[in-house]
């Protein structure tokens, strides 16, 4: 038994030099796929967007105040060209993201502070995963909840109070999106707050500060950078969120900041433009790619900044 084992070992040892090189190169190739995906995204979006910008000037797209992408059947029809100004979509996106962040930031931050600074380990151990359930629920479920439960409540309360609320409102979509973002903010800020060195807290207690005073005047200021980073990541998530707004925000491209009205977002328009009957090459279809490119650049920018901030923070206290 022993000699044969020996033989196998030796054989494995001999043949492995080239084989191992191949394996390593194979792994390198696999890791290049990640770069390939990014290149693929940029190229495909940029290519279709380029085709779009040959039909519609970049300036009209970025600064146009009107969005009505219908394409005409005949070329000489009235309004045949369609209007492709992205500003109404941008305001809709910003409005909903703002409402979402206004809901998620206080709830997420206070939850994180309570869990890290006050909660007993036992309580923390079950509340934290329960809160994170919110992050695991598919967005289509949030969309259904927003359209079926939250929107009617808002409409009824609103009309009871004498406001004119449309059945699909930015408020409903934003509110529900905010719920979705709570665990996102709370767990990121949780990490950041926990990373503040214990010595700083103890120094503060030693000087006679209460826990609140320590938290608000020592811990949170020390963690600000990291918290801002996590808020930026959450904002980028809100901007790119699709299903909630598709199901609850509406299609009307209005340039309004009234949260009780129906607004539309960039992601909603991408879905609307690409899920109907589509022909490649029409300005309508290509417009979706132009919006997506815009969206990609926007979220990418936020992410890069946020990740940089968070990284810097880590080094700071490491």
């Amino acid at each position: 038994m022993f000699p044969s084992t020996n033989l196998q070992l030796r054989r494995a040892g001999r043949g492995s030099k080239l084989k191992e090189q191949i394996i390593i190169v194979g792994m390198l190739v696999c890791s290049l796929v990640a770069i390939l995906i990014t290149i693929g995204i940029v190229l495909s979006l940029a290519f279709e967007a380029f085709l779009f910008f040959r039909k519609v000037p970049v300036f009209d797209f970025l600064f146009g105040l009107e969005w009505s992408p219908q394409t005409a059947i005949r070329a000489d029809q009235v309004g045949a060209s369609g209007k492709f100004g992205v500003l109404p979509l941008l305001t809709g996106t910003v409005l909903i993201s703002f409402i979402a962040m206004a809901v998620a930031t206080p709830l997420g931050l206070y939850s994180a502070v309570y869990l890290t600074e006050y909660a007993k380990p036992k309580t923390r151990n079950w509340i934290k995963p329960t809160l994170e359930l919110l992050a695991g629920i598919p967005t289509v479920v949030y969309g259904f909840f927003a359209a079926l439960v939250v929107a009617p409540i808002i409409r009824n309360t609103g009309s009871g109070a004498g406001f004119d609320v449309s059945s699909e409102s930015a408020l409903a979509a934003g509110l529900v999106m905010g719920i979705m973002l709570i665990p996102f903010i709370s767990s990121l800020s949780d990490d950041v707050i926990s990373a503040v060195p214990k010595a700083m807290r103890e120094a503060s207690y030693g000087l006679g500060a209460t826990r609140v005073e320590t938290i608000t005047q020592v811990v949170l200021p020390a963690a600000t950078v990291g918290i801002v980073g996590s808020l930026l990541l959450a904002t980028s998530r809100a901007i790119g969120e699709t299903m909630i707004v598709v199901m609850a925000a509406g299609l009307a491209a209005k340039l309004t900041l009234n949260p009780l009205e129906a607004v539309t977002t960039m992601t909603v328009q991408i879905v609307t433009l690409l899920t109907g009957d589509q022909e490649f090459d029409s300005a309508k279809t290509l417009a979706a790619f132009a919006i997506a490119l815009f969206l990609f650049i926007l979220t990418m920018g936020l992410n890069v900044i946020a990740l940089k901030i968070v990284d810097k923070y880590k080094v700071h206290y490491a």
């Binding site: 040892g13 191992e20 792994m27 390198l28 696999c30 890791s31 796929v33 990640a34 770069i35 995906i37 990014t38 693929g40 995204i41 495909s44 979006l45 290519f47 709830l107 997420g108 931050l109 206070y110 939850s111 502070v113 309570y114 006050y118 509340i127 329960t130 809160l131 919110l134 695991g136 629920i137 598919p138 967005t139 289509v140 479920v141 259904f144 909840f145 359209a147 079926l148 439960v149 709570i182 209460t210 609140v212 005073e213 938290i215 790119g240 699709t242 598709v246 199901m247 991408i270 879905v271 690409l274 899920t275 490649f280 979706a288 997506a292 969206l295 990609f296 979220t299 992410n303 990740l307």
Partner: protein
Amino acid sequence: MPDYALNTSENTRRRHIKEVRFQWVGRIAILISLGFLALMFIAISVRGYSVFEQTHIQLDIFFDEAHLDPSGARDPEMLLIADYKPLLTTALQRRFREVQERREKRRLYKILSRGAVFALGEMVQKNPNLIGTSQRLWLPASAEVDLYMKGKVDVSLEEELRRLKNKEINWVNQLKAQGQIKKKFNTRFFTKGDSREPELSGILGAVIGSAFSLLVCFTIAFPLGLLTAIYLEDFAKKTLLTDLIEININNLAAVPSIVFGLLGLSIFLGVFHLPRSTPLVGGMVLALMTLPTIIIAARASLRSVPNTIREAALGLGASKVQTTFHHTVPLAMPGILTGTILGMAGALGETAPLLMIGMVAFIVDVPQGITDVATSLPVQIFLWADSPEKGFVERTAAAIMVLLSFLVLMNLLAVFLRKKLQRQW
């Protein structure tokens, strides 16, 4: 500067109140968040649970040979598509003899689901001996009757505002009095594909579509993600290229999912001409999205394997590749699998990118392979949520319950793996 010496007790009291208040704000924030979670589960369960039962009506059906198969050939194909409607109308007429007027008769036939015809067809195809006999059968009721039986029709509403009129309600109540209408477990919901009629639609097609997509997603993303993680963690020297790969992976994890859908649309469909609306393309898009999650989780897991293990293996003469594949990776596997399962759970709930590659069509047939046209469970939920018929509301909620149960199962599996198999170093 306040004068502390004079006012100490007052000041302490104030600071104490502030402390308590702050704690309560924290508690309330958590309660609100958990409250939303509870509200969501309750709102969905309350609407969805009723789907698991469906109303059936008992009728005496005479399988008339002269009508169904006059030639006596008993060809299964022909038996399935024979005209079963007269059988139902006769049975209903015999049950409600007082209904004489034509228009009323037509309304009477509508208390049965259109699916009753197919149910009879399938029954006779399976057992041709039924022809010529009379049978007492439970047949599916229409969506409106079903809603009424579940107490979801507001009878206090004026008759014109209801889809179910007083006459129909009267018939249903007659049946109820004699025990000829009742709710039975809804097997159809779990064994059929989509349908235009709420009472006939099921989720099996969507579930199978999701399963195929996840299968494709796993076969692509798992090996790719694992090998990338191993390379970055154990082999790569810190170069510009590996830095670039790392930054890339972190950023990809935060790209909006819909952008991946557009990538799939223009590259997989536009350039490679893969079949549209199929789990193959859906799975590929999901794989690209899940890849960063798997890589990040696998790297964390590999990193947690202590270096002493690697050094011991190397010290006994193993090569670097052998050390990694014989020792590090098996030890890190529970963590890697946990991350992969969580990534798959995310992929299962994903909707937007699948809309982009056309997995959003109305599909009745259950897909047989990865190149069949299909939808997925979350897309089905989206489609049903968009339908105007009232019967689809409860079906949407029920489909969500099914989706959430799958997610809970996957998460439990991940927790189990972590608890049972992962070693603490």
